[in-house]
């Protein structure tokens, strides 16, 4: 059994593989469950919530080199609790794992880390903000100014992030419903980071600038038993407006969708199931699976009808529980860039 399978087992402690992605099955024994009308307490809520089963700090960024080449980076720290408590020492049931990636038009470099809480190898502290696992770190005096580092066998990067807009709350004030049965998570973002830093790649160092989007989400049962995966889009349009939209694919072939329109000033509009539509236009064979890498995305209420295309179709995250995640370009009614994440493609 290798690490990959171990994590697979970790993430599937009780349920069959068909029931949801990334341990997001519906059972939540003993764990706290998100409730409507949340009142967030910052900076504490930037930190970990060990009472909830799963939580993440999820940064993606669209970057550009001096020659105009487009790059994408991902930095994600997951927390997965075996029990709703946290302890000192090896007995801590909080498991941390992280994925980092750098995507270029030609290459996609991935690295993964796994650690146990309780011994100082990984964790998150809210103020001053510090999220870390091994040598990977996202830290700064506060949540608005962060330095992000990661390294793998083929790459490393160090990026400085500066927030240029407010936090954005999805769903009903940060209570994001994920199914018709009412499964939900707490979900907010900082989509207004300007990014500057250096990517160290096999061909050498590349200074980069661009825009970053940091998602914060935690829950204990965000997926319904009948949901098998999701397609998630974070798009930044040239006019300054942004769109977060996702559809959860259900085993009966239907989808459950939700979206947040983010104005250039940070004003948000949430859209219920059905308003946001995503249709696969083109499939790519990657890592032995068929994955859509060109999409038609519509949000008619905001006049959005765009084609979303992967920068690198082979942006497969070959980690313990693999998925597709990579930078995209946007054309059509709106132009821009963004990130696409697709899970549950077997």
């Amino acid at each position: 059994m290798n690490v990959r399978v171990l994590i697979f087992c970790l993430l599937w402690p009780l349920q069959a593989a068909a029931q949801g992605f990334a341990g997001l099955g519906s059972a939540a024994e003993g764990f706290a469950v998100p409730q409507p009308d949340p009142v967030f307490d910052f900076p504490a809520d930037h930190g970990a919530h060990p009472d909830y089963r799963i939580e993440w700090w999820y940064l993606t960024a669209n970057l550009e080199g001096p020659d105009g080449t487009a790059y994408g980076i991902q930095w994600t720290l997951f927390r997965s609790a075996l029990l709703p408590e946290t302890l000192q020492g090896w007995g801590d049931p909080q498991i941390w794992f992280a994925h980092a990636a750098v995507t270029t038009p030609q290459a996609h470099h991935v690295a993964e880390r796994v650690a146990r809480g309780g011994i100082g190898q990984a964790g998150v502290e809210p103020a001053p903000f510090r999220a870390w696992i091994d040598d990977w770190q996202m830290a700064g005096p506060n949540f608005d100014r962060l330095r992000v580092t990661a390294s793998g066998p083929e790459f490393r990067y160090a990026l400085d992030l500066q927030a240029e807009g407010p936090l954005v709350f999805h769903g009903e004030g940060g209570f994001s419903v994920k199914s018709a049965e009412g499964q939900a998570s707490y979900y907010y973002s900082q989509p207004f980071f300007s990014v500057e830093g250096v990517l160290s790649l096999p061909k050498g160092d590349v200074p980069v600038t661009g825009q970053g989007w940091l998602d914060r989400e935690w829950s204990s049962q965000p997926l319904s038993d009948t949901q098998s995966g999701w397609d998630w889009f974070s798009l930044s349009f040239d006019g300054g407006a942004k769109l977060m939209g996702f559809q959860l694919r259900q085993t009966d072939g239907t989808t459950y969708s939700a979206a947040t329109w983010i104005g250039a000033d940070g004003q948000t509009t949430s859209f219920p199931d059905g308003a946001f539509r995503a249709r696969a236009l083109e499939q790519t064979e990657v890592a032995g699976r068929t994955v859509p890498t060109r999409w038609q995305v519509e949000l008619p209420d905001k006049g959005v009808d765009v084609t979303v295309s992967a920068l690198n179709r082979a942006a497969w995250m070959d980690v313990s529980l693999p998925y597709w995640e990579g930078p995209v370009s946007v054309a059509g009614s709106h132009a821009g860039r963004g990130y696409l994440e697709m899970t549950g493609y077997e």
Binding site: N2, V3, L10, W90, Q121, D134, S151, G152, P153
Partner: protein, 800 residues
Amino acid sequence: MTGAGFSALWSHWRRNPLQLFTLVAGLALATALWSGVQAINAEARASYDAAAQTLGEGRFDHLLPRAGETVGQDRYVALRRSGWQVSPVLEGRVFLPDNSSVRVLGIDPLTTPGGLSPVRMEAVGGLAGFLTEASLFADAETAARVDGHLEGQVVVDPSAAPGVVITDIGTAQALLGQSGRISRMIVAELQPIGLPPLDRIAPDLIRRPAQEVSDVGRLTDSFHLNLTAFGFLSFAVGIFIVHGAIGLAFEQRRGMVRTLRALGMPLGRLVWLMVAELFVLALLAGALGVVLGYLIAGFLLPDVAATLRGLYGADVAGSVRLRPSWWASGFAIALIGTGVAAAGALWQIARMPLLASARPRAWVMARGQGAWRLGALAGLLLLAALGFALWGSGLAAGFALLACLLTGAALALPLILRAVLRLAEGRARSAVWQWFWADTRQQLPSLTLALMALLLAIAANVGVSTMVSSFRLTFVGFLDQRLAPELFITADTPEQAAALEGFLASRAREVLPVNSVETQVAGLPTELFGARVGLTYRENWQFLAQGPDPWDRVGAGQAVIINEQLARRAALWVGDRIAVGPDLSLPIAGIVADYGNPIGQAVVAEAVFARLFPDQAATRFGLRSDDPAALRRALIDDFGLPEGNIVDQAQIKAFSLEVFDRTFTVTAALNVLTLAVAGFAILMSLLTLAALRVPQLAPAWALGLTRAALGRLELRRAVSLAVLTTVLALPLGLALAWVLLAVVNVEAFGWELPMYLFPLDYARLALFALLAAVLAALWPAIRLARTPPGDLLKVFANER
């Protein structure tokens, strides 16, 4: 025609069941000893492999503490936080109420490098169960031993290495009382770019490359080499029997062969029929041998396992599993052995002129004619052995030396015996004795093979038991030397160590810090010790080679003492200078034996050590005391040292010795078995001879020797031949022991074992050999004494 030929061939065995029995039993015995030993070796190897797989030994580099047994887990976190992809391991022994022990192996499944598959976690509900419940994984045998004695849920996992309990590192820390400590770290193959160097993050750790980690294999190889040598010698003895039986059977069937060919059966087909017949017999005997070997292995393995565990800390399963590898090797060796034994006989049959006379006795006589050719060959082989001993180098030369020596000696045996018998004949005063010696000499050719088997069996026993006993004596001396202090204590911190030294100043006779670092000496990985030179060192350490006043000079910081491994590898000896530090080189004052240690060792004075490694404070101490029990109580009650930090030396030593004595069970059992095989060879030779010899004994009987007297003479003949062979086997056995100790051991493992002689053991062995010979000769002698006079008279009646 083929069917008729086959039934004709088979009728021989029907008429001579004893010959058939000799053939099958000899081959089966030979195969049994060989495959029994192979089974033991295969079992041990499988156990090592399982252990190595658990730990990733031989595949991944490891980080080990430079000094001491463990480091704080903060080192692990610091390395991870700087990017190093390492995984922590904590291991240690836990003693069970029955005084046996298991090795507890604590791992962190989240970080073990990919592909390491310690246990099947599904049994405890996956990783979550492994991490959150104290689950202990062990094979069935170990699980049964620890169940109820260790805290946690015991899960049977057949893939676990024997004697090992695998658990989460947190659970292991609790079981071993090593909270916050780890033994070592496994370094993953893939590391991120831009990794800071190890000595900047954790200078107290040393990186050991993958291939150097697995010491167990190298150490235990010596033990298995001995077993294999034993197995092979036993097999050789068995093959002698088979050779004799096949030769005789073929000779007796010459008449039948002639008849069959005269009736029109082609020679080629006849030879193939005989090959097929032997093939079937070999398969039968091989199967029997493998089953016997399985029983032998099952009988010996628990002792072998205990020996290996005690000597080297290598855990081996205590029960034999049927592995295809040694099944196959058992059959293969039976077939090859039969082939070797039968090749000559088949060749003779193939060459035999159609109308050659078929006189069985001629076969026996003819064997004497080649004696001088054999003698020349023996001389050549012994010369070659001498050459290998003088000029050979390398392990291959060592084995070539062994082969030449043993074969040469076996071939020379009939010549020597013949000479001795001729001498005895010349000195005989009465006619009976003259006849006795002449008749013995005349019988020699047909007994040669059995006597060669006896020679090899005795020599192997003398050689191997000398080696094992020498090893034991040396090892005991080594234990005395290294475990002289009555108590060993460990302090948790350097501060506590300083306090302990103060506390002990008036209470212990001597306080000996055990302070060492892993470093490079003369460019080789070496453990450097700082010693507080005192009476203990002076009285207990024995040198392989030494200059004047070694300890005085070491104590004064003017010299260094190194172990044999370092001396041999660096090609340095007493008086040479060796660089122990960046700008310090000292002359070597003495060289000590250091058994079972794969790396070099160097001992300098405490002060020199402190100058070289100022940050390295001793936290382990050996204590000399006249009343260790009182000192132990004082340490626990008055000083407050945890009981787990004190180790009683007597316990360790008793344990080691008990284990070593188990080795003797194995050796003794193999001794008995090989001697039994040789005795069997003599019995069979005498039995087959008995019938043939009636015509030669009849005249002696007619001249007035009673049958009882003839029987006694037969017995005496067997005894005198056995005595002669034994006397010749002793020097051969000692030569064998010398080759094993001084040549093979040095080439294979880098250290020489001093050879000790054990005259009492040899006397006992000689007695056993004689006993075997007497027992073997008894039945034929009794049969002779009871031969009906009519049979003896018939000899004259039938004489043509």
